[in-house]
Structure formats: C-alpha cells, structure tokens
C-alpha cells in the first residue's frame, strides 16, 4: 500500500505534543511509582486504600456525571435550536451560547458567587416574586456548584452536537411522518440515532473536562467539596508528596482516558451503522 506523504505534515504537531505533553506525562507516571527506596506502588495503595481519598474520587465522578448529564439535558435541545435557527436569530443564539467561552472561568465562577449571595439577584428575584420570605442560602451549596459547572461546560456539549445536527436533513421528520411515524417515534428512531455521534463527542468532552475541574469547584465550594484536582494541588504544593499527587493524577488520567477511548469506540460503531 502506498503511503500518503501528506501524513508527514502531522510530524511537527506530533513532535510538539510529544515534547510538551507526552514527556511530562511519562515523568508524572514515573513519579507515581518511584519512591525514595525505588519502585513502589505505595502512592496508589495510600490513595485507593484510604476511604477519604476514595470519597474524593467518588465526589469528582459524581460532579462530572451530574455536570455531563445537566449539560446534555440543556445542550441537546439548544444545539437543535441553533441548527434550525435562521438569519439574525442564529447569530443571537450563537452569541448567547458561545460568547461566555471568551470569559475566563475565574470571572464566571466569581460571577456565580455574586448571583447567589443573600443580596444577590436570585434571592432578590425570589423575594420580589413572593416565593420566599427571607433570603435563603444558595452560595457554597452543592446545587450552586452543579449549576456553575453546567454553565461553564455547556458550550462544550452544544458545539459537537450542533456540528452533527446541522448536517441532518431537516426534512427527515416529515419523511418519517408520511410513513405514519409520530413525532416521538420519529425522534427516537430517526433523529436521535443520527445525532448520537455528536452526543458521544459532547459527553466525552464535558466529562473529561469536568472530572478534572479545579477552579470552579474551588471558587464555588472551596475545601468543602474536595475534587481529585484539589487533592493533586495539595499534594504537590502543600504536602510536597509528589508520589501521592502523581498517583491521583494517574487515576484521573485513567478515568478520563477510559471515557475518551470508550467514546471513540462508540463513535466508530455508530459511524459503521
């Protein structure tokens, strides 16, 4: 088989990634199994044998799953609206969904803090609507954390779904209807399967990003909701326990990798249908 010389164009990019990503990653994995007295799995034993750290891993997973689920629930219809909108409406929707990406995560997370305060706009609105009698605590609650995380990562769900949905023929539901399919049946058997590649890509992207989130949980919950990234920061910076930090990083990497690889396999299967 003749090789395509165009493939060589990837070399600079691959070389760059190998240098700045792969090499540090290998060093990290090496640190996770290298102790003062040689090779050891002590970092992993301390991590996975400790109920506290297992709880942190579970909390990170829970946060990532809720964020991904919430972003999917909101992002899937948003992607359809975006794909079907025309003219000025599409520009407005695009701006609403993607302009927040230009704002720093730190600014957005601080913004949530202001919105959720006792004298924030949400409490003000609920008070004026007569739904509550006095301001309620919303800040530094798990609900606030989930809302903030979904807000930060929603565009990463919308974009891949939108990319797939905009390629779908808008006459497909009509064609299904002429064959007697109800709107729900048409969505379940025609639209949804065709949009699944976008869903899979969005889910893997949002899960990978949210399971490793550091800034948003730090600002919206602080130490009350420890995530794997926060443990890593503590291990490297405060405890100076590189082995523990590297072991946590390796576990986090394995989880994100499993989702990405699983998603890629699913994509191939869906593409082959």
């Amino acid at each position: 088989m003749k090789r395509d010389p165009l493939g060589l164009l990837a070399l600079p990019g691959v070389g760059y990634l190998a240098l700045v990503f792969l090499a540090p990653l290998l060093l990290l994995l090496w640190s996770s199994v290298r102790g003062p007295e040689g090779w050891t799995l002590d970092g992993y034993v301390r991590l996975l044998g400790d109920p506290y750290y297992r709880g942190v891993i579970a909390a990170s997973l829970q946060l990532a799953l809720i964020t991904t689920g919430g972003a999917l629930l909101l992002g899937y219809p948003a992607a359809f609206a975006l794909a079907r909108a025309r003219g000025g409406w599409q520009v407005v929707l695009f701006a609403l969904i993607f302009l927040p990406l230009t704002v720093s995560i730190i600014v957005k997370s601080f913004g949530w803090g202001i919105v959720l305060r006792r004298d924030g706009i949400l409490n003000w609105a609920l008070l004026n609507l007569g739904l509550i009698e006095r301001p309620v605590r919303m800040i530094f609650t798990e609900g606030a954390l989930y809302a903030g995380m979904i807000n930060v990562f929603l565009p990463f769900m919308v974009l891949p779904i939108f990319a797939v949905v905009r390629m779908l023929d808008p006459r497909l539901p009509d064609a299904a209807a002429t064959l007697g399919a109800s709107p729900w049946f048409s969505f379940r058997r025609v639209t949804l399967p065709l949009s699944l590649p976008g869903v899979v890509a969005g889910v893997s992207l949002v899960f990978s990003l949210s399971v490793a989130a550091y800034v948003t949980p730090s600002l919206l919950m602080g130490d009350r909701y420890m995530t794997m990234s926060m443990v890593m920061a503590k291990a490297f910076l405060n405890l100076r326990d590189w082995q523990l930090g590297a072991a946590m990083a390796a576990v986090l990497l394995a989880m994100a990798l499993a989702v990405v690889v699983g998603a890629a396999a699913l994509q191939r299967r869906l593409g082959g249908r």
Partner: protein
Amino acid sequence: MPFFATRRALLGGTAMLAAPAALRAQTPEIFVGGPASPGLTDILFPIIEKKHGFKILFEGTNSLINLEKIRSNKARPTMTVTMMDDPVLILGEREGLLEPLRGKAIPNLADLRADAKPREAMWANWCFPAASISWQTQNMKAAPTSYAEVWDPKYRDKVILISMRITQAVVPLLAATHLATGKPLGECLKLADEGFGKLRELKPNILQITTNPPQAQQLQESGEVDLYLSPDSRTTLFRKSQKAPVDLAFPKEGTVAMPAGVALVKGGPNQALGETFINELLSPETQALVAGTFFSKPTNTKAVAPAGLNLPDLVVLDWEYFADNRNRWIERFEREISAR
C-alpha cells in the same frame, strides 16, 4: 526602489535592538521573590531603588511556589532575596537554600527584636502582621471580645475560615485549643491536636473553608458573612483604610503575630545588593513606613509606628513546630473540619 539589507544596516539595527539591554545593564538589578501584596512594588520598592540606585525585579507569588522556584534553580540561582512565611523559610533552610544573614553587612539586624531573627538570623522578620478575627462592621454592632463568640449559634453560616493550607489558619486552631484546654494562646500550638474537637463544633457556623482569600474578603465586605478567621492586618486594616466595612478585633485571649520573613538565597547573584536591600528594609525609617503601609508591627526596636496604628502586643509562635506538624494538621483539618 528595492531594499537590500547591507551589513552596516543590519549592524545598526542590531545595535538599536540591543540598546535597551545595554542601558539596563548599567543599573544593577536584583531579583526578589515575595508575596503579591499591595504596597511592595508601588510604595516600598521605588523608595529603596531610588535611595540605593539599583533596580528590583520582583515576582509576586505565594511562599510555597516561591520556594519551589528557588529549589528548581538551586544549581544556578537567579533570585537574590526571598520574602516568605517562616514555616516555608524553615523548609528552605533545611534544604540548604538560604544564606545566613551577617550582622556586619546588615547592621540593622542588631536593633531587631530577638524573636524577629529566627534560627540565629538565618532570616529576619521584616514586619509582624497581626491576625485574630476580621469582623463586619455593618452587620455587627461591636467587635468580638473573645474567640468564644465565634462559636455562638447566632453566627450560623456566617463564618469563613481560611484553609489549613494557608498559614493564617493557625489562628482558629489556636483559639479552639485555648477554648478546649484553657491554656494561654501562646502555649496552645503544641497542644493543637486537642483543639480539633472544639473546631468541629464550629462547623454549623462555617459557610466556607477558603483557599481563596480575596473571594472570602469580598464576601465579608458584601455582608454575606460576619466573621472571617483570619486574614491578617495587612488585608483587614488595609481594606478598612479604604473604607471597606471590616475591622480587626483584638480578643482578650490575644492576637497572633504572622511571620513575614526576608532571606538571602544561597549563591544568588549580587549578594551585596541583596544585603543592602535587607538592611534598608530593617532600618528604623523604612520600618516605620512598612508599619504604616502594611498595617503591621515593626520589628526594629528603634522604629516608631505611625500614629493611629495601635496594635496590641502580639503572640509570637514557634514556627518550626508549626512547620513540622503542618502537613498532619492539613490532613486532619480537611478530614474533620472541611469534609461535608
């Protein structure tokens, strides 16, 4: 007309590009690493630069990252002077990263309080910021007079604690230990493990455990919380001076001196300039300026604190003991106090 680059033109261009570097080279420079506090680069350093004719290149970050930079450059140090917390300086000393301060080169050391020259003047404390309870002056009628008030149920969800990963977190731990044992605040550090039970009782009042002091400061100033333990006087009194509705309480049990150290990096460039910098920082005149700018106790006994800055006598802690136990306390704090 086509343009051809002649050798002369190229040399001329190169000389133009090199000119700023050459001009810079005429002014000696030192690289100082320290906290990103307001007042350093805008007030203090320009005065030192003007007086001594050298340039201070400053990088503001937290003490642990500062230490990491010095450690990474141990073979070829780039930093001359470092300004860090004592518990971190202790780690630096143990790794042989610091150069002892010499009284001959830094004569102002002689006038420093004895407790401001730790480890036989391995470094010096350039000021003692005060830490106790920061209180919200619009929500509350009067300052707390005792740490016990922080445990009052009326402050439910109205208290922010600093994470044990930040040195100032020692204050609520000492307060809890004092309340649990009845011992004076100054004796509580070595009994601190006995304070965790009392600190757990504070959990209903804690709105957040913060690793982000500016966010906590903003929440207190906006009235979301009443009590914040414990930003030190550099923050609270500075914000008070800017009309923010916060003030520092002076509880009857005592107010703790936070350690603000300055040290020479071993093998760092321009050591003589580094010594000049430290000597100036410790001089009575600069110490008075430091006290007023950083709302802290001066450490030079000859310095006169500015009028209006009335800090009480501070409790000075054994920071080596703190450094030796900090990691264990961080773990306990996270599991017993921070955890949901």
